[in-house]
């Protein structure tokens, strides 16, 4: 089933005249909640799906297109307006992109996550653009008194070839604004072969401002009369303030307000307890904080640590699993009949998003109204959170979405937003709250760690016949590969309740899982004496009956595996000693990706990642080739960064890493060249922000195995090779 058919629409279009003879097109499109919930599996789905786009065409020919979703670096500020522009048949060089305010009634659901911006908006935005084009054609036909069917469009102009007449969109805007809009549902859209803009390389619309240092990000916001805040929370997650030396801090240079903030509700992503310090510069607030002494009620999480998790996981691995996620066939019987059985335990750690722009938010609350400037991926959820916390109706809160210095899922949470709003309300002045890097790292919503106990069996022909996976702490999907491709399959899970805040991180549910699954498959390929790509393709060819959980198309997975085999020169390269190539594939966020990594491990154990080949299938169209390439490179390099050194550890309920000296991110010298190829298939286009990340980690670990014979079963790689 395609996404297009999952979406049932009820839509209408609105046209109005702009002052000075322009045209404004807005569209209101609704779709079933269920469809949205289906592709947002993995994090909280939006309550409804009401995408809306605006086009403004001015009499002078300038066109403004609204970018509806937050830009975190994934390129939607270009790609979504490009979809409209393509169908409008406008010249991109006439277009100015404007970031839309947060307004559900105008723009529908506005969020950035789950690689969903493209799939959720693709159909609707095309129709919005096409409807705009139809109006301009109708206006020209009326002006010239010719049939609309004889008119063509291109580069913001309508032409009537027979009579050799042509008019620009600007000249037609006033007439178009008087016409009755067409029905969005029946308006035809272009055949992809007629695209002029989609699939081209379009550069970032904010590039020039970025290169010249213009204020763009949340951290750059200035509001008249604004003061600066820092907020100290308990180093133990969920701990509460008992008392603090507030009077002393109040007397420190530049400090204007100091107060205790009480926790609202129990959620770790709402307003937490802490001490706010407001000063007339951020440096003063931060300096005063060094003298702050708080006595905390640490709460129960203080008993939890990385070691405690490992001990609990080891205990649970020896007990029957708490839950069965999926059971096909009879694994025990199949293991006893198997020619070879392999058992292994895998682990991936908690990791942090580490967006380069630390969390921040600016808020002004006065006369029962609030205005907020927020670098948030989910500004609409933030609006609800703030409204409840400060007791101001959502309709009285204005939210400006700023450009965002990295999201990766961290900014799906709005803790910084509710803190800023609360502090501004209490202080009675506009406030910019800025977290230090240490705040950011110690108060994350981390990717959950996971422990996995796996057992697999192959028969005498090297065919995979049985698979068991007991997941501890992190969860397991019922459709997790190789479910459906192995006749005897058992997936089980055991939970460890804990108080560490967790959340979605780029390719949630997959970023660590692909490492586990695709590394263990590699172990089984090795046991079966088969080539790693052949083994996977054979496995993908033994398709069992589909269940509700199986949404994965084996043909597309085989397609990208064959493509990466060809592009990487798999099996054809003579590699020096200590160098190996590894492969993996993974399906997530509707995208199919197979990747090969070539890596070298020196005699002393130094690892060098030489190259990554990425083969992806994201459907029929890449909206922006430049943006697509960026996401391929960014995701692959991000995954390698996870694998090399990222790990959050905890002691006595506190995060032990606090900055980039203890939490290393990948740098230039470690980053391999990433080469990519896309396989175009007749499926609706899907998002690119995430699915290229998961396979790179197991591909790297499998390359290390080929190079050294050492199997990485625990992340990060760190100094395991030394």
């Amino acid at each position: 089933m395609t996404i297009a058919t999952q979406i049932s629409r009820r839509s209408f279009l609105r046209v109005s005249a702009l002052a000075g003879g322009g045209l404004l097109i807005g569209s209101y499109v609704r779709s079933a909640d269920a469809a949205v919930a289906e592709y947002t599996a993995g994090f909280a789905p939006p309550e409804e799906f009401v995408p809306n786009a605006f086009i403004k065409i001015f009499a002078n020919g300038n066109i403004t297109i609204i970018a509806k979703n937050p830009e975190v670096g994934q390129g939607v500020k270009q790609s979504l307006p490009m979809i409209i522009c393509e169908e409008l048949d406008a010249d991109w060089s006439h277009v100015t992109v404007e970031q839309g305010l947060v307004d559900r009634s105008k723009y529908g659901v506005q969020f950035t996550g789950g690689s969903l911006s493209t799939p959720m908006n693709w159909d609707d935005l095309r129709h919005v653009g096409a409807a705009g084009r139809a109006l301009l054609v109708a206006a020209a036909a009326k002006t010239w008194n010719v049939p609309a069917s004889e008119c063509t469009t291109r580069n913001s102009r309508v032409t009537h070839a027979k009579t050799g007449r042509t008019l620009g969109y600007g000249a037609l805007a006033a007439t178009a604004a008087t016409l009755t809009p067409p029905d969005l549902k029946t308006i035809p859209v272009k055949d992809p072969k007629d695209y002029h803009l989609l699939g081209q390389r379009i550069h970032g619309v904010d590039n020039k401002a970025i290169f010249t240092g213009k204020p763009l990000y949340g951290i750059d916001v200035v509001v008249p009369g604004m003061l600066y805040a820092v907020f100290e929370k308990c180093p133990v997650f969920g701990g509460k303030v008992m008392s603090a030396n507030i009077d002393k801090i109040k007397k420190m240079p530049g400090v204007t307000h100091v107060f205790v903030v009480e926790q609202i509700g129990n959620a770790l992503d709402g307003l937490m307890s802490g001490v706010a310090i407001v000063a007339d510069s951020w440096w003063y607030a931060k300096t005063a904080r060094q003298s702050l002494q708080v006595s905390w009620d640490l709460g129960t999480t203080a008993a939890q640590s990385t070691e405690w998790f490992a001990t609990r996981a080891a205990e649970l691995s020896k007990l029957p699993a708490q839950r069965t996620i999926r059971k096909d066939g009879d694994v025990d019987a199949a293991f006893s009949g198997a020619a070879k059985v392999v058992e292994a335990s895998y682990f991936y750690p908690f990791i942090h998003h580490a967006t380069l722009e630390p969390q921040n938010c600016t808020a002004s609350v006065k006369n029962g109204k609030a205005e907020i400037w927020a670098p948030s991926q989910t500004p609409q959820s933030g609006l609800t959170l703030v409204s409840k916390a400060i007791g101001i109706a959502e309709s009285d809160i204005t939210i400006h979405v700023t450009r965002i210095g990295g999201g990766f899922g961290r900014r799906l949470k709005n803790d910084y937003m509710v803190e800023a709003a609360w502090i501004a309300k209490v202080a009675g002045v506009p406030v910019k709250l800025l977290w230090t890097r240490e705040d950011d790292m110690r108060h994350g919503h981390y990717r959950q760690a996971g422990f996995f106990n796996l057992k697999g069996g192959v028969d005498a022909n090297g065919k995979l016949v049985a698979w068991r996976n007991h997941a501890i702490l992190d969860n397991l999907n019922a459709g997790e590969f190789p479910a459906r491709y192995v006749p005897n399959y058992l997936a089980e899970a055991s939970a460890i309740p804990h108080g560490i805040p967790t959340g979605a991180l780029r390719a949630p549910g997959s970023n660590g899982m692909a490492f586990v699954i695709q590394s263990f498959i590699d172990e089984l390929a090795n046991a079966a004496g088969k080539d790693p790509i052949d083994f996977r393709i054979d496995l993908l060819s033994q398709v069992g009956p589909a269940t509700q959980a199986d949404r994965f198309d084996a043909e597309r997975a085989r397609g990208v595996l064959e493509l990466v085999r060809e592009k990487s020169g798999w099996g054809k390269r003579k590699l020096p000693k200590g160098t190996g190539m590894g492969v993996a594939f993974h399906f997530s966020h509707q995208g199919y990706f197979a990747e090969v990594v070539q890596a070298t491990v020196s005699a002393k154990g130094a690892l060098k990642v030489n190259k990554v080949w990425v083969a992806g299938d994201c459907g029929s169209v890449l909206t922006n080739l430049s943006g697509a390439e960026q996401q391929m490179q960014g995701a692959a390099i991000d995954g390698i960064s996870h694998a090399l050194g990222q790990e959050m550890t905890f002691e006595n309920g506190r995060a032990m890493q606090s900055n980039f000296d203890t939490y290393p991110l990948i740098r230039m010298v470690q980053a391999p060249p990433v080469e990519f190829t896309f396989r175009t298939t007749a499926h609706p286009p899907t998002g690119l922000g995430e699915p290229a990340l998961p396979p790179v980690i197991p591909a790297l670990c499998n390359a290390i195995f080929q190079a050294t014979g050492k199997r990485i079963r625990s992340l990060p790689i760190g100094n395991q090779l030394a």
């Binding site: 970032g204 010249t212 240092g213 200035v222 380069l356 230039m668």
Partner: protein, 155 residues
């Protein structure tokens, strides 16, 4: 304390605590928001500016230590955004989120001022700022491209 600064060719006097880092004077006192805060401990390079032409991390430089010395920020890298690194960064469409890029541009500009034709090894050694989005492939290409553009301009 009162400190006189020479920033982007202009003299300015500010009255701030002597230990206030240059970064916060630039951002919050002088309202030059192009220089970014990432870590505060000289690890990421988002806050890179030029001090007498040398790339430095402004988050870790007390204002008292830079009085009177020539400072260039991203806002002053060129008059109209046409420094070869700015042009190359546009040609290659380097940014993803863009947050690190001011710092990257400042480091690249300083590298090219010293080495007309940097090798990949030079780039690895100099371009050590963090890009959380992983734009490293394009940064490398853009540094090479900027070297070519500079050579063209010199001829």
């Amino acid at each position: 304390m009162s400190v006189t600064l020479k920033i982007n060719g202009k003299s300015t006097t500010v009255d701030v605590p002597s230990d206030m880092p240059l970064l916060w004077v630039l951002r919050d006192v002088l309202n030059l928001k192009g220089t970014k805060f990432g870590c505060g401990i000289a690890q990421c390079g988002a806050c890179t500016v030029h001090l007498k032409g040398v790339p430095v991390r402004s988050c870790s430089l007390p204002i008292s230590s830079v009085a009177g010395q020539e400072i260039t920020t991203i806002e002053g890298l060129s008059k109209d955004g046409t420094h070869p690194v700015q042009r190359a960064w546009e040609e290659i469409d380097v940014p993803q989120c863009g947050y690190c890029q001011a710092g990257q541009l400042m480091v690249a500009a300083a590298l090219l001022a010293n080495k007309k034709k940097p090798t990949d090894a030079d780039i690895d050694a100099s371009m050590v700022n963090i890009c959380r989005c992983g734009t490293y492939n394009r940064i490398r290409a853009a540094v090479h491209r900027a070297a070519t553009l500079s050579a063209g301009a010199a001829k």
